[in-house]
Symmetry: C2
Subunit: 488 residues, 2 copies
């Protein structure tokens, strides 16, 4: 009979053991933050009750069927629910009573025949021990249990600044009998999710290590003539079979050659041609937490002079940012730093010409670097909390794409992913505009048409003293060539 | 630059080339069937216009976001749309004018910056050549183009008899200006989908061959101590890397030991124990068409006497059905045949006792075989058309689970998947009921508690002369032991 381990999740073998105290701690952090907010004077916080009571109620996700068919997408849990309860099962709710801190996980009441089809039905006691919540009840008991805590429910509702979608509030039959606050909870949860606890960092370190090894595996397997999707298959296999990661944090981006200029290309159907660059952006997911890593390297294992020049420009930008990152530094400044380093290198290569300050003022680099430097990382690949109240989205061609404009603080995990891309319609537009064309050496640029792109993406923890690099990969030209040569 | 091959789909290399004439043929079959129906006298078919005009309009699927995050489930196309247009992209529509047979694929009008993010935007001309439709237009032109054909739209709407969900009708802004018929189309499409053309069979043969080889690969890789999900990872990797199959037709079921008694168990998190049986039900998907194959074998590669006895009972049932299948035979009769063979074997093993006729009348076998013999297979793993108008769902403990009660006809593809499972709550109930308990030898049965289950699932084409077995696998005890020994 399958068993549920008490107080932890693991995929067995050498895979990471996630203690459920991780989520207990998140619940405690949330309760403290809510109490602090609710005790503020009413004029500061109009949605607050004065006595710091009420219940946090989150609704987990449901399976999504394939249209009318009786198959479904493989279930992925909603990330706020995952953060607070660590439960990756469908059709659950979770509640935390603010006054007592008591947590209740609500699970669907399954018919006996569920066991015939899907496997053992775990008892509330087994689930309570596994998830380390105070109590497990059935979803059909929601109204009655919640009422025993409070008349006031705090539910998630708010704008996700990356997707522009709204997080949807919990709902159930009987909710009309409660006072429901939809404004207080979401920004507080987002803000807490920005700062990773030690237990969360352990999961992130693990999934990033698994993903790093899987990328190396891919690098070793790459040969001209194989297909992009075979690289994806290699990554997926290593992540799942060796790391117990059933899901990825996002759809695998495996582009080679010209497609490398399409930032999120993920059809992955083309063959790898001798002389092409590969740009592979893939990250595994474990217990909800995701990695986000990009490696760029030549399909045949040896950089040409042009490939080396572009690659080293991007690596220099990446390394310059890593060296400059520390608490207090503005992410917008890091973005500009990466852009300037790229600019300097492109002038040296001869693609751009003129004074670097002037190039930067004219925002020329963003024709070749049309995305932000990086983003917060956690349970979402583009994690929440990038633009809390009071942090405005910067304006400007390149910098407006940034998914956060915050100052760095210890405990943030963020990606550093500068890139250079030769995107035909951007370059055509630039060359067609005299104000921009004068910064380009058209003859040199012509050599790079069809080159695709290079992105070097690392996952980084901000520490008190600077950063900890979580993604460990062969990064220099020499390291990459050595890894790829060894597998030939 | 990525290219779209004219008139075909393929994942390259040795993977199958699907000619888009497959879908042209489906459109022609549909137009013919609709014309035949529409020309029937009005009293036979009240929803018909008399002049066989109108437009078939299908809406493809859309990406499903992960809640408010900016990631999504990897898009899977709606199967009726896939059948008629062979287009696996999101947010499309397709129309077929009944009178002229002219087909139009409607694609979203993508902003230029789509190319920056997702890759080359193919022109309508490139898409028209690739999908072999008569015309490609933009979705925002739907109303105008449809109006040029007819005032009457035929859209899909109806009950899926496997999921009990309803197929949803196409809808767009402006549809209120048309006469929309929701009743005629769906049963006609379902009925056509039951019978596979030669081009469809070629795809099915391919995806079933890939899946068969992947199962053999898994069989060779299995060792006590590994985890169920590592077998799944092996299957996925082989299907994708070697066969170009990015998706499976359904969530992989990898159960071992006791979990083998849970028919659709798919958490796949347990370790394989020495002495356990494995029951692995997995099928790849290619261009929408899916395989559905189950292999059962001992984790350590050598059957015990009890494992051999149960396995050979199931294999005998599978082989008896294959030998008896031919056009005209009722699937319900095949189901009963499989149940009887299982019964006979269980009596011989000593688990059941008494007269086989009496056992069959008492429906005892369905305590150990609680599912139908098999189901139609195609673009859905449980394919449509199992219960057309006039074919009633049979009653009775086991047989009511059948997903079709039709008579076999040439061109049908159907699974043959008898099984035996030792399901605690069924056995407890049987032993607790004197009317049932007398058929069991409780002492012998006790030996099989925790055994799990055995299912042997093949994919079969009904031919004029009998059947063609599409899934080719090591099936006898000797074949399986030889394959597994060779990899040790
Ligand atoms: Mn990223
Ligand atoms: Mn099946």
């Amino acid at each position: 009979q399958p068993v549920l381990s008490a107080g932890s999740f693991s995929m067995g073998g050498a895979s990471h053991v996630v203690p459920m105290r991780l989520h207990q701690a998140n619940r405690a952090r949330l309760v403290n933050a809510l109490k602090a907010t609710l005790r503020k004077p009413v004029e500061e916080n109009p949605s607050a009750a004065s006595d710091a009571s009420g219940v946090v109620l989150l609704q987990g996700g449901s399976e999504v069927p394939h249209y009318d068919a009786d198959t479904s997408y493989q279930f992925v849990q909603e990330s706020n629910f995952m953060w607070l309860f660590g439960c990756a099962k469908e059709d659950c709710f979770g509640a935390v009573d603010i006054k007592s801190g008591k947590s209740v996980l609500f699970v669907p009441r399954l018919p006996e025949d569920y066991a015939t089809w899907m496997g053992k039905i775990f008892s509330p006691a087994e689930l309570q021990a596994h998830y380390a919540v105070d109590e497990v009840r059935f979803v059909d008991e929601l109204e009655c249990v919640l009422r025993s805590f409070s008349q006031t429910l705090y539910v998630i509702h708010g704008l996700n600044t990356d997707s522009k979608n709204y997080a949807q509030p919990a709902t159930f039959r009987g909710i009309e009998n409660f006072t429901v606050d939809k404004t207080l909870l979401y920004p507080i949860v987002c803000e807490l999710r920005v700062f990773k606890t030690e237990d969360e960092l352990a999961v992130l370190r693990y999934v990033i290590a698994v993903s790093s090894r899987a990328h190396v595996q891919v690098m070793k397997s790459v040969r001209p003539g194989m297909y992009e999707y075979q690289a994806e298959a290699e990554f997926l296999h290593h992540s799942y079979a060796e790391g117990g990661c059933r899901f990825t944090g996002y759809q695998c981006i495996c582009c080679t050659g010209h497609s490398g200029a399409s930032l999120h290309y993920n059809t992955n159907q083309m063959p790898l041609k001798d002389g092409d660059m590969c740009l592979f952006d893939m990250g595994a997911q474990y217990h909800g937490y995701v990695a986000d890593i990009t490696c760029s390297f030549p399909a045949n294992g040896v950089f040409t002079a042009d490939q080396r020049a572009i690659y080293e420009a991007v690596l220099a930008a990446n390394r310059a940012v890593l060296a400059a990152m520390r608490p207090g530094v503005l992410w917008t400044d890091m973005h500009v730093l990466s852009a300037r380093v790229l600019c300097e290198h492109l002038v040296r290569i001869g693609i751009l010409q003129g004074d670097v300050d002037e190039l930067m003022r004219a925002e020329i680099i963003y024709m070749l670097y049309p995305h932000g430097l990086g983003h917060l990382l956690g349970l979402n690949v583009h994690d929440v909390g990038g633009y809390p109240l009071g942090v405005a989205r910067p304006t400007g061609l390149g910098i407006s794409k940034l998914r956060t404009a915050r100052a760095l603080e210890a405990g943030m995990v963020i990606t550093v992913e500068p890139g250079l891309y030769f995107i035909d319609h951007y370059l055509d537009a630039a060359l067609g505009d005299p104000a921009k064309a004068r910064f380009f050496n058209a003859a040199v640029l012509a050599r790079f048409r069809g080159f695709g792109g290079v992105r070097i993406e690392d996952d980084v923890l901000v520490t008190e003293g600077g950063v900890e690099l979580l993604s460990i990969l062969p990064r220099t030209v020499e390291e990459i060539e050595a890894v790829m040569a060894a597998s030939k």
